[in-house]
């Protein structure tokens, strides 16, 4: 029996979704509550119980985070979008396997990372066809133009372009550990390898990234204007 069905773990829940109603509200102890006010666990539980909308809300809440992970791990917007599609469908269908003691974001994150890694592995199998370089498309998809200051976008693109140039295993480890803040042990569990392997991939990945991103540091130290992303990538 799944955890959510066990009354021992959970008091009788008072919220009753009004499925099919026009407004995205559910009745909560008598008072209408919007999905925004429900936490991740509640949204997921409603989804498992058959609510058709709560999963969409859950994903909407975390999609920028998940996009960041996918685009950094895969380097290509098209690939990242495909990986997220696979990940969200998988999460939708496997929601009842979620164990209530974990954080929903951790669970979702892991599914996204695994979908990305699956794509990387499949790509490695047909390694003969390298991905097309399309800097303009990458720039366009790295974020809506109006939302972020130019230097934020530029720096973001620098990192994305630099990450793209290193080995995919090293990139995945670095994204998890350095960028997403996972511990070595957590990253090892997600990547399904030994902690020592994660450490070594991170170390070698950093060594490769350093010359690609060194202008960050020089600009920070000497106040020299930053090079453009294109120049930076050309350094080698």
């Amino acid at each position: 029996m799944t955890a959510h069905l066990d009354p021992g773990n959970q008091p009788p829940s008072p919220d009753v979704p009004r499925i099919g109603a026009d407004e995205p509200v559910v009745a909560h102890a008598g008072a209408p509550v919007s999905y925004d006010q429900l936490d991740d666990h509640e949204l997921l539980r409603l989804h498992v119980a058959g609510n058709p909308d709560s999963f969409g809300f859950l994903v909407k809440r975390h999609r920028d985070r998940m996009w960041a992970v996918a685009i950094r791990t895969l380097g290509e917007p098209e690939e990242a979008a495909d990986a997220l599609q696979e990940a969200f469908i998988s999460a939708f269908r496997r929601a009842d396997s979620f164990r209530g003691d974990a954080k929903v974001t951790t669970w979702l994150h892991r599914i996204v990372v695994n979908a990305c890694l699956d794509r990387i592995r499949r790509r490695q199998v047909r390694a003969a066809d390298p991905l097309p370089e399309d800097e303009d498309r990458a720039a366009e998809l790295a974020g809506p133009m109006q939302e972020d200051p130019a230097e934020v976008r530029e720096r973001r693109l620098d990192v994305l372009n630099a990450l793209k140039q290193i080995n995919e295993d090293q990139r995945a480890a670095l994204v998890l550990v350095d960028m997403e803040g996972y511990s070595i042990e957590e990253a090892a569990a997600i990547l399904d390898c030994a902690p020592g392997t994660v450490k070594s991939r991170c170390a070698r990945g950093r060594a490769k990234l350093l010359p690609l991103l060194r202008h960050w540091q020089t600009s920070r130290e000497s106040d020299v204007p930053e090079k453009s992303a294109a120049e930076a990538v050309g350094t080698e």
Binding site: S13, G50, F55, L141, K199, A203, R206
Partner: protein, 253 residues
């Protein structure tokens, strides 16, 4: 230049960037680590690489904290994917707003009308299956003794649901299915989303003053009944939402 950290012919004694990065991660064997550490201390150039690698991790962490806004077209696409998953789930397991399924009848009709005898027959079998899947084929008619629930809504409190269901089901080996055809269909749709969709009980009820439906499903073990109290099933085309669930174990008969 050794900026890249690679050893060159004039600087063979310098550590390469990989070695310095390994040193930072404590990946070098003890004696090698010692030698490397001593070298870094003495060599400004390698010290610089060491510092730069440490700072690179920090910079990546800074960058990593920022979300990247999902492009609108990707977000819209993914929303559509999730909606279609929701519809797919509804059409395979019967949950989701029934109104939404009615909106796209063409997708569902051909399958349903494949045999000309059609929908009525399917509906009849649907009811039959629920009753026939129980293989306790000893007696036919549902018990009508006083321990059976009434055919219309029974009034009780949330706390009493478990014991009441236990009482009802211990007095009959047969499924108890009450309520309007809509209510029963709604309960079966709900059941089909559960791990054990085998319906043992559908009973209209007024629970703590609220119109609800009690659904009992065969649990994992023979005597276990998963009990759900749901709202939404008493309206035509309604969809069940569970607000209480428990498991009862029937005394063996």
């Amino acid at each position: 230049m050794t900026e890249s950290g690679l050893p060159t012919s004039e600087h063979l004694e310098h550590l390469d960037t990989d070695t310095i990065a390994d040193l930072i991660e404590n990946l070098l064997p003890a004696n090698e680590a010692h030698r490397a550490r001593e070298h870094v201390k003495a060599c400004p150039e390698c010290q610089q690489t060491y510092d730069a690698l440490v700072r690179l991790s920090e910079d990546l962490a800074d960058e990593g904290r920022a979300d990247i806004p999902m492009p609108t077209d990707v977000a819209e696409h993914l929303d559509a994917v999730i909606v279609s998953e929701s519809v797919l789930r509804a059409s395979t397991v019967g949950v989701h707003s029934l109104a939404q399924i009615r909106e796209e009848p063409r997708r569902h009709l051909p399958k349903l009308l494949g045999a000309a005898a059609g929908v009525v027959l399917i509906a009849a079998i649907g009811v039959g299956v629920v009753i026939a899947t129980k293989d306790q084929a000893n007696e036919g008619a549902a018990s009508t003794d006083q321990n059976s629930p009434p055919a219309d809504a029974v009034t009780l409190t949330t706390d009493d649901i478990g014991s009441q269901v236990k009482q009802w089901l211990e007095h009959t080996p047969n499924p108890i299915v009450h309520g309007s055809a809509d209510e029963q269909a709604c309960a079966r749709s709900f059941a089909s989303t559960q791990p054990n969709p085998n319906v043992r009980l559908v009973q209209p009820a007024k629970i703590d003053g609220k119109r609800a439906t009690i659904i009992g499903l065969q649990g994992g073990a023979a005597g276990d009944i998963q009990v759900f109290a749901v709202t939404g099933c008493n309206e035509p085309g309604g969809v069940a939402s569970s607000f209480y669930d428990t498991t009862v174990t029937l005394r063996s008969r």
